[in-house]
Amino acid sequence: MSIRIQCLCIDTTDPAGLASFWEAALGWRRTYDKEEQVVLEPPEGSPDEGIAPDLLFLRVPEDKGGKNRLHLDLRPEDQAAEVARLERLGARRVDVGQGADVSWVVMADPAGNEFCVLRALTAAELAESG
């Protein structure tokens, strides 16, 4: 078996605009920038470089339909600060029926794609994950 996840692909009517949000949200860099496709990769020299899949924004004619079946979970060091920062960048909190007592915050990017900001890992969890 020789197969790996290379890209997470996101359909959008505006690849450049939506990529700008995620570029700022994750601090990633634009490595391909055309009208039909924009690619983001982790910063050079970061632990994620060459490991995390690229984010590939693909131009499509149609807007988003229902709730996505696939979404991203983001792990912050400071959940409240990151949620506030992402809101300033154009994300918003959304209710997908998650309830009030969950440890993560459900948000949507400017195109409405749902994602979650998880709680920060505890010191013990960080030690375990290396």
Binding site: M1, S2, I3, R4, I5, Q6, C7, L8, C9, I10, D11, T12, A25, L26, G27, D48, I51, A52, P53, L56, K64, G65, G66, K67, N68, R69, L70, H71, L72, D73, L74, R75, P76, E77, D78, E82, R85, A111, N113, C116, V117, L118
Partner: protein, 117 residues
């Protein structure tokens, strides 16, 4: 700014079926096998895939999908079919060769030959 991509999460109706398929498809290791799980992390590189029990029906094409790269496109497509995937179409453009497939719950993903990249 300290935030990292942690996991790609797939909503699913049958978490055991999807655990079986995606673990085998990508060589991932389930973090749990408890029968009442409503969330399960499948650990691996380059990133974890998580499964979340949800009743969201597949109403339309999702805005997000996974691209899988392989150096043996034909062999991998055949293997994925054997474990429960279906072929939707094969785009044979030499400049852009990929096979669109669906997992056992109908989520689309693409299998791309590494030499084409």
């Amino acid at each position: 700014m300290t935030i990292r991509l942690s996991s790609a999460v797939i909503n699913c109706a049958d978490i055991e079926l999807m655990t079986s398929f995606w673990s085998e498809a990508l060589g991932l290791v389930p973090s749990s096998s408890a029968p009442d799980d409503d969330f399960r992390v499948l650990r691996g590189r380059p990133m974890n895939v998580s499964l979340q029990l949800a009743r969201t029906p597949i109403r339309a094409r999702d805005q997000m999908h996974l691209d899988l790269y392989t150096d043996d496109q034909a062999g991998e497509v055949e293997r994925l079919v054997q474990i429960g995937a279906k072929v939707v179409r094969h785009n044979r453009d030499p400049e852009d060769d990929y096979v669109v497939m669906t997992d056992p719950e109908g989520n689309e993903f693409c299998v791309i030959a590494l030499s084409e990249v």
